[in-house]
């Protein structure tokens, strides 16, 4: 599936992560940009979790920007899923 709209999910609160989705041209692949308060400790984990969700939702082409404040894995999973579903137009939420 391909994201159609710009979308975001999450907050800038502690233990949360803000995910922004930008649609890209088909076949441009995935670009994932992560900033985090725990980047030195958990960069690999955060990346892995985001990629897993993108795989599960079969998203091949996307620009995803993550601004993390120490979210646990299940929160990252939830926010990526929400942002992607919003960008697909499946669910309503804020831009």
């Amino acid at each position: 599936m391909t994201p159609k709209f710009k979308a975001q999910a999450g907050t800038f609160e502690s233990s949360d992560i803000m995910i922004l989705i930008e649609p890209v041209q088909p076949d441009t692949g995935r670009q994932v940009d992560i900033s985090s308060t725990v980047i030195l400790q958990f960069e690999a984990d955060i990346t892995k979790t985001i990629i897993q969700v993108l795989d599960e939702l079969e998203i091949k082409d996307v620009h995803l920007i993550a601004k993390d404040k120490g979210a646990l894995n299940q929160t990252i999973r939830a926010r990526v899923e929400t942002a992607i579903k919003r960008s697909l137009g499946i669910q309503k939420g804020t831009l």
């Binding site: 725990v38 958990f42 120490g70 646990l72």
Partner: protein, 519 residues
């Protein structure tokens, strides 16, 4: 050589000399002969009816004949509001003095201005109980010429007595002082309460300057610092930012997590067997630690318990408990808010004490040795109950040893309060990055997910379980938390030693290496 907790300690470090490895909490003090060189007081002389007053701090410093390689000392009672330390360093720099050893009882956010002086080598050694902010960052990156020494509050006094710190010049800020140098922190526009940590500097320094913004008529009462130790007195417009020195009253946290941890800690104390008339007590000034006092206060009222004394860093909350008759007295080495100053001044049962009386291991018994219960915080703890209060998640220096290891060594019950994780970083480790307080002197670690009791205290664990307190094995807690947070990546460390953690008996308990990346 390896010390008693398995840390490799260099035998010798250039500029600092020979190092002794940590052997155990009481081992060197009890079993070894009382140590080494003992420094005698400097002989001084002054004719009758001559003045100590100088027009400016610069004049006073010049009269002390500053020289390259000298040791300059300060107290940190002005905390984040201090202007005196930076003013002194600037003057010494303008006078072209180099290679300075800085020995301040602690360093705060007010001292980020030291960064350029460290970087250009004007300051080459630092002895202190705490380093924070940008100064901590550049020291962590290896910018200080010789490793910094992190001592405890008690250890600092000992370092003066053994000559490890040899003070050539001490510049001591006072909230009120007279022309002879009798001085106090208890009143004046910049009042900061107790002046306990400055006592050792005044007694042993070759040159002592009192700096005050409040020159009072002779004699200044109370006189915490006595005139016969003081060389010069300077009146300045301001010793610092009064709002950052001490403001208002300390409030109990509203953080539900801190309150929850505090509540559990209070129940640990209540069921420890020490919660009875005559109990002595110390808490920290922040977060969960201070909140323990709130619950203990309620429990004491409910069960009609009257305590003996409180010590340490004192907040208005402690003063309230004194005034309610819950404790007999407060022994105050350092006051944390403005309301405390009034109590120091007016309440005869609120007694100012020196760092020596508070926590020095090498005297005839400090007050920490009389402590029943102390509640302390932690940045990290480990499965051997060691506590880190000095280095952060990337291994950077960002905290204070303070009285942590002093009080833990003396108290019958040492309770550490901390969350099990902070912003995804697990707090329980296999080994803390830096050991400040050894697990040997820690009895219980209280987190929101249960209480870990040191296996050396099976009776405590049994009593808590019986009372319905959730006791968990620290390794199980570690596993549980890591399942939530994931395992953090290993820290990237260099091979340069940037700081040594000195235990209160003068031995080295841990070393801190430089870090390449700071988050």
């Amino acid at each position: 050589m390896k010390n008693a907790i398995g840390v490799e300690i260099p035998e010798y470090i250039e500029g600092l000399g020979k190092l002794e490895p940590f052997q155990g909490v009481w081992k060197s003090i009890i079993e070894d002969e009382v140590p080494v060189t003992n420094i005698s007081r400097t002989l001084k002389a002054k004719k009758p009816h001559t003045s100590k007053l100088c027009d400016t701090l610069e004049d006073a410093i010049k009269k002390c004949n500053p020289f390259d390689g000298m040791t300059v000392t300060f107290h940190h009672h002005l905390r984040g509001g201090d202007h005196v330390l930076m003013a002194t360093i600037k003057i010494l720099d303008q006078l072209g003095i180099k290679d300075i050893t800085l020995a301040s009882s602690s360093l705060t956010s007010a001292h980020d201005g030291l960064v350029p002086y460290v970087e250009k080598g004007m300051i080459t050694k630092i002895f202190t109980s705490g380093i924070r902010g940008q100064l901590g960052e550049i020291i962590s990156k290896g910018k200080l010429k010789y490793p910094a020494i992190i001592h405890s509050h008690g250890g600092r006094v000992r370092d003066f007595l053994t000559g490890r710190i040899k003070p050539d010049l001490s510049v001591l800020a006072a909230a009120a002082a007279d022309e002879e140098g009798n001085a106090t922190g208890a009143h004046g526009p910049s009042a900061f309460g107790s002046m306990g940590y400055a006592d050792i500097d005044a007694r042993y320094s070759k040159n002592v300057i009192i700096v005050t913004d409040n020159l009072v008529e002779y004699p200044c009462v109370p006189c915490t610092i006595r005139q016969h130790f003081i060389d010069f007195v300077v009146k300045v417009d301001s010793i610092g930012d009064a709002t950052k020195i001490a403001s208002g009253t300390t409030r109990i946290t509203k953080s539900p997590m801190d309150l929850r941890i505090a509540k559990i800690a209070a129940s640990v104390i209540e069921h420890s067997g020490l919660f009875k008339n005559g109990m002595s007590f110390q808490v920290g000034a922040g977060g969960a630690s201070l909140a323990v006092a709130k619950f203990l206060r309620e429990d004491m009222k409910r069960k009609d318990i009257k305590g003996s004394f409180m010590i340490g860093g004192v907040t208005s909350y402690g003063v309230d408990m004194l005034n309610e008759g819950l404790f007999h007295s407060i022994f105050d080495v350092q006051s944390f808010d403005a309301a405390v100053s009034t109590s120091v001044l007016n309440n005869p049962n609120h007694i100012e004490i020196t760092g020596d009386q508070y926590a020095n291991a090498n005297n005839c018994g400090s007050m920490t040795n009389k402590l029943d219960v102390v509640v302390l915080g932690a940045l990290e703890v480990d499965v051997d109950f060691n506590v880190n209060v000095i280095t952060g998640a990337s291994g950077e220096i960002r905290g204070a040893s303070g009285g942590h290891s002093d009080t833990a060594s003396g108290a019958s019950l040492t309770v550490i309060v901390c969350p099990s994780f902070r912003g995804r970083l697990p707090i329980v480790q296999d080994r803390v990055h830096t050991v400040v307080t050894p697990g040997e002197s820690v009895d219980a670690i209280v987190t929101e997910r249960g209480v870990c009791v040191n296996p050396s205290k099976p009776n405590l664990a049994a009593a808590l379980k019986k009372a319905g307190v959730k006791v968990v094995d620290i390794r199980d807690l570690k596993k549980e938390v890591e399942e939530m947070t994931g395992l953090p990546a290993e820290k990237k460390l260099g091979d340069k030693i940037v700081a040594l953690v000195e235990y209160r008996d003068g031995t080295i308990i841990d070393v801190i290496y430089n870090v390449e990346n700071l988050s």
